[in-house]
């Protein structure tokens, strides 16, 4: 894997055939383990640079990890923004039960419903999802089913059940990173592949434990536009660090969620792309 990453990040174009071949080999190997789902439905972030690194986007039936750098709200916003992109394109839910019986109209699917699971402790500490706020950043609250699980064990169980259900578009499970071993993530990865559902584990703190997830992100909040240019709070903005990627290189970006077009955009002002550490606010780096 490390070799591929190195190859991929090297600018030499002559290697591309070799890389494609390696990718195919890797795909075949992963398919044999049952870890790779049908990657037909890639979930692109909408940012060409990042999508290229991901090889087109996040695979449909795969498991990904998003860890909160500090406050979990930013990380949950990032995960939910992905959910919003997942919902996009799916037809609107049924207006009311009378319409549902009207056979003239095609019955819209709720196949893109999103299940959001959180541990009780995390809900108490970080607050529950708030419908008006969700709607504001472009996530239809009516598409969301929320589950409050008493323990991390129940989060894992619920995730596994939901990942096997093909009527769900995406499953997000929020929990503390403690006690989640590789067996657990592997079970989830297998379930995701079986149901062809995108699974996201949302950790409330960064974690280095080995896992079966395809990518691992650390998401932190990023400041709005330069204070000199505006005093207003802008769109949701994330400092996204891709710290593990089975399919390609890593990277760090500052992305902004465009809730109207429902896509991530690279922040347009200059930022120190390298070395953006969380303990060192990047504003000082700019100055």
């Amino acid at each position: 894997m490390a070799e591929i990453a190195r190859l991929n990040s090297s600018p030499a174009g002559g290697h591309s055939a070799r890389i494609d071949q390696l990718r195919r080999q890797l795909g075949a190997l992963e398919a044999a383990t049952g870890l790779a789902g049908e990657c037909s439905a890639l979930l692109a972030l909408g940012t060409p640079v990042i999508d290229a690194v991901l090889g087109g986007g996040l695979g449909g039936g795969t498991l990904h990890e998003i860890a909160a750098a500090r406050e979990v709200t930013a990380a949950s916003g990032f995960a939910l923004a992905l959910a919003a992109r997942r919902m996009r394109g799916a037809p609107a839910p049924i207006g009311n039960s009378c319409d549902a019986r009207n056979d003239d109209r095609p019955v819209p699917t709720l196949g893109r419903s999103v299940l959001w699971i959180a541990e009780d402790l995390s809900l108490a500490e970080n607050g529950a999802l708030y419908g008006p706020g969700l709607d504001e950043i472009g996530i239809a609250p009516e598409r969301l089913i929320t589950v409050a699980a008493p323990r991390a064990r129940d989060v894992l169980w619920t995730m596994e059940e939901a990942l096997r259900c093909r009527a769900i578009g995406m499953v997000i499970g929020e929990m503390r990173p403690r006690g989640i071993d590789q067996v657990a993530t592997r079970r989830l990865a297998l379930a995701a592949a079986a149901g062809n559902v995108l699974g996201i584990i949302l950790y409330t703190a960064p974690d280095d434990a080995p896992s079966a997830a395809v990518t691992r992100w650390i998401i932190g909040a990023a400041s709005s536009l330069d204070a000199a240019r505006s005093h207003d709070v802008g769109s949701p903005r994330f400092l996204a660090r891709l710290v593990r990627n089975r399919r390609g290189p890593l990277g760090t970006w500052i992305v902004e969620w465009n809730s109207v077009e429902q896509r991530f955009e690279l922040a347009t002002y200059s930022e120190p792309v390298a070395g953006a550490a969380f303990d060192r606010p990047h504003r000082t780096a700019v100055a």
């Binding site: 708030y130 008006p132 949701p236």
Partner: protein, 475 residues
Amino acid sequence: MLAVDAAAERLGLTAGLALAQARAMHPTLTAVPEDQTTDARVLDAIAETCQRYTPLVAIDPPDGILLDIGGCAHLFGGEDKLRADLLVRMTRLGYSARVAIAATIGAASAAARFGDAPIMENATRDARERLAPLPLAALRLPDETVAALTRVGLKRIGDILDLPRSPLAARFGADLLRQLDRALGREDEPLTPRLPVAPYVAEKSFHEPIAREEDVLASVERLAARLKTALAARGAGARRLELALFRTDGAVKRIAAGTSRPVRDPQAIRALFVERLAALGDEIDPGFGFDLARLSVLNAELCPDEQIGLGTREDQIELDRLVDRLSARLGRQRVSRLLARDSHIPELAAAVMPAQAMTRGEFGWDAFRRFRVEAGLSSRPLRLLAKPELIADVFALVPDGPPARFRWRRALHEVVRAEGPERIEGAWWSEKGGPARDYFRVEDKAGLRFWLFRAGLYRDMTPSPPRWFVHGMYA
């Protein structure tokens, strides 16, 4: 002394005797103090055991249980056999019981407590004859009425049966006649069952008690298959089900499960109880096994006939099944949908409802979106704390402006950007409404965004410093 057991009775002791007197007669007497709450609990447990004979069981305090066995006696081989079975069961549990069967509650209660004929015929004439020799107290009359009747020489029910009614009513109250009429079946007396009666019930008793989970689930499926016929006949489906497992030692385990759409498919019903049993785990203690299983539909709803092969609709069914499974395992309240509510107070503007209870729809969000555009609603946070949290060390540049820094959960946040205020009035029409709040959306140096508010207007604050809260966080 309130009650005596059989051994004490043989010694000539009776209830109502003073304890000191009894002790004087028999120094080795064992006395147990009265405990009404435990008595009530035991009575309730016995009633639960009796639930196996009929769904209509009522408690007749302080020491009686009423069973309406109309239409069920034949299931146990007739009234005689039912009575014998009940007596055996009570004896096995270690209780001594007196059982009487009669056409009215009054007569049965009188016969059980004071009579010696266990079964009374339905005919009124027979009831008259049987009741006549019993004391008046058997009519469940207040003590004063019985005492007053005794004073004038009326001691048995037979004494008042043929007396003119109006003088009796005038002297001893209408209660006396009503109780008499009820006992004789001249007036109806309704029985109030201790549990609601389910519209659809199927049950199976086992000669050999079952204890294994697979056996329980298999019988659930068999019972569900029987219910299916009954439900389909009326075009109904189950929304709420209850499985009652009667243990051989009299205890009853009740397990409820809900669904988000009416179901009558035995497989689906079985799947619900798989999760319920898994969630309960060791709480279902089979002891020496269950000898009766009863599956009741507590709530039924009209259910359109099965639609098969409508493509996308299958997704819907799949989703409902998932919701049912999760609700069965984790609890109904834990699997929710978000609802928009018509309220300007932030914590009331969104509600969380059990997903099973919500039929499909947009849950009020369309109206909310229209409102947001029309009213130009300010930004709302992604996550809202269950309870606003007090923040300390607030320092504001302008008295009623946003804070320049604040301390929350021990971390100091330097505010770089702020928007607001948005003033939200409290519910002034309600006593618990609270003061108006000025909300600010702020961003700190690290890019973290908060939704803060100051409780109350600034001008009302002096001299005490204003109180600030964090209410939510933005992405």
